[in-house]
Subunit: 201 residues, 2 copies
DNA sequence: ACAAATTTGGACCTGCAAGTCCAGAACCGG
DNA sequence: CCGGTTCTGGACTTGCAGGTCCAAATTTGT
C-alpha cells in the first residue's frame, strides 16, 4: 500500500527531487514555483502531485533530506578519515574548495531559515545532519587522541561543537558577505589550536 | 519633498516597523501577512502603503535595519568595552543570556535566509551588521594587545573573524537544535585561546 | 495478449494576499 | 478659521500559485 513505485516511477520521482533541489539552490526556496520545477524537470502537475500527494510541503521535505545527505557526502571520504594531520588538512581544503565553488548557492540556506519553519520535519532533518556532522568530527578528534596527536585532556565533544559552530558561522558569513575569510579563519585557528594542545602533552 | 512626516506620522511609522518586527520574530517572515501587521499594530492598509509605498519589500527592509541595529544595541555597553578579561566575560555572558532568552525567535534568522533573497538591500544591511560586529571585536582584541593581555603576534582581524564565525554558527545551531552548547563552546574555547596566547608572551 | 495497475498531461478551480483607490478625518500654518 | 497637507479607513481589484480532477497513455504481471 505504501509501496507502489515502478522503476520508471522511482526515476521520475528522483528526477523531480534533484531538479527541485537544483532550482532551489539557484534561486531560493520562495522564488521557486511548482511550475518552475515542472519546466526544469520536464514533468507535469499531475506527476508532481502523484509522487508528492501533500504537495509542495512534501516535496520540500524530500529536497531537504536530499540536500542534507549531499552535504556530508561531499566531504567524504575525508570526513570519515580524520586520522592524521594531513588528513585533517585535506578535509579542511575540501570544505574550503566546496563552499568557494558553490558560493551563495548553499543548500543549507534554503533548508534552515525557510524550510525549517514551514515543514516541522525539516527541522529534524537539519538537526540530524548537524548531529551526524559533529559526531564525525568528534570521532576524528578521539582518534587523534588515541594516537597522541591531540592531548588527552581535550574535551572532544566540546571541541567538535566549537569547530562545527565555526564552520556553520563561516558558511553563513560567506553567504552574506561573499568572503571565505571567516570560514578559513575559523577552521584554521580551531585546528591549529588542537595541534598546539598536543605539544602541551 | 522626500520629507513630509508629521510627528504623528513618524510615530505611526515606527509603530508599524516595531510591530512587524515582533510579528516576524515570532512567526517567521513568510508566515506574516500584511493583514497580521495591520491587526497587530492597529493600522489600516492605507497607512501601510502610505508609509511604505513600495509595499512589503520596503517594509521588510525597514524591519531588517531595525533588527540589525537592535542586535548590536543589545550587546552594549559590553561590546564597546572589551578592555579587560572580566569585561570579555561580561560580554560573553550577555550574549549567552540574550540568545538563551530569545531561543528560536532570532531576528537574524528572518533577515538572512529569507529577506536576503527578496530585497537586494537587505543583503547590504546584514553585511554592514557583520562588519560592525567584527570591527568591535577587533578593537577589543587590539586593546588587549596594547595592555599586554593578548600576545602581540596574534592577528586581530583573523581572530575576530573566527570568533564572529563561532558566534554566528553557535546561534545557527541554537536555532536548529535548540541547544546553547555550541555557542558556549565556540565562545569559551576561542576566548580561552586568546588568554592562553597571552601567557606565551 | 489482456486486465489491472501505475504513470502522465493538462485544463480547470479556488483562495488568498498584495496592491489600488478614493473619500473623509485630523492636523498644520498663517 | 480656512486652504492645503498629511493621515486614516476600508472596499475593491488582480494575479498568481497551489491544488483538484479525470481521461488517455504506458507499463506490469500472468
Amino acid at each position: 500500500m505504501t509501496r507502489a513505485l515502478t522503476r520508471k516511477g522511482e526515476a521520475t520521482r528522483a528526477r523531480i527531487v534533484a531538479g527541485a533541489a537544483a532550482e532551489i539552490r539557484e534561486r531560493g526556496v520562495d522564488e521557486v514555483r511548482l511550475e518552475d520545477v515542472m519546466a526544469h524537470t520536464g514533468t507535469s502537475k499531475g506527476q508532481l502531485f502523484h509522487y508528492f500527494p501533500d504537495g509542495k510541503e512534501e516535496l520540500l521535505l524530500a529536497v531537504a533530506q536530499h540536500e542534507a545527505d549531499q552535504v556530508l557526502t561531499d566531504q567524504e571520504p575525508m570526513l570519515s578519515n580524520l586520522t592524521s594531520w594531513p588528513a585533517w588538512q585535506a578535509w579542511r581544503d575540501r570544505l574550503i574548495e566546496r563552499y568557494l565553488a558553490q558560493g551563495v548557492k548553499c543548500p543549507l540556506n534554503g533548508l534552515l531559515g525557510q524550510t525549517g519553519r514551514r515543514a516541522p520535519g525539516a527541522q529534524a532533518i537539519v538537526t540530524g545532519l548537524m548531529w551526524r556532522w559533529q559526531e564525525a568530527i568528534t570521532v576524528g578528534i578521539r582518534h587523534m587522541q588515541s594516537t597522541g596527536d591531540i592531548a588527552g585532556d581535550v574535551d572532544a565533544d566540546r571541541a567538535a561543537a566549537a569547530l562545527l559552530a565555526g564552520i556553520q558561522g563561516g558558511v553563513l558569513l560567506l553567504l552574506s558577505t561573499g568572503k571565505i575569510d571567516h570560514l578559513e579563519a575559523a577552521l584554521d585557528l580551531t585546528i591549529e589550536r588542537l595541534r598546539a594542545d598536543a605539544r602541551t602533552t
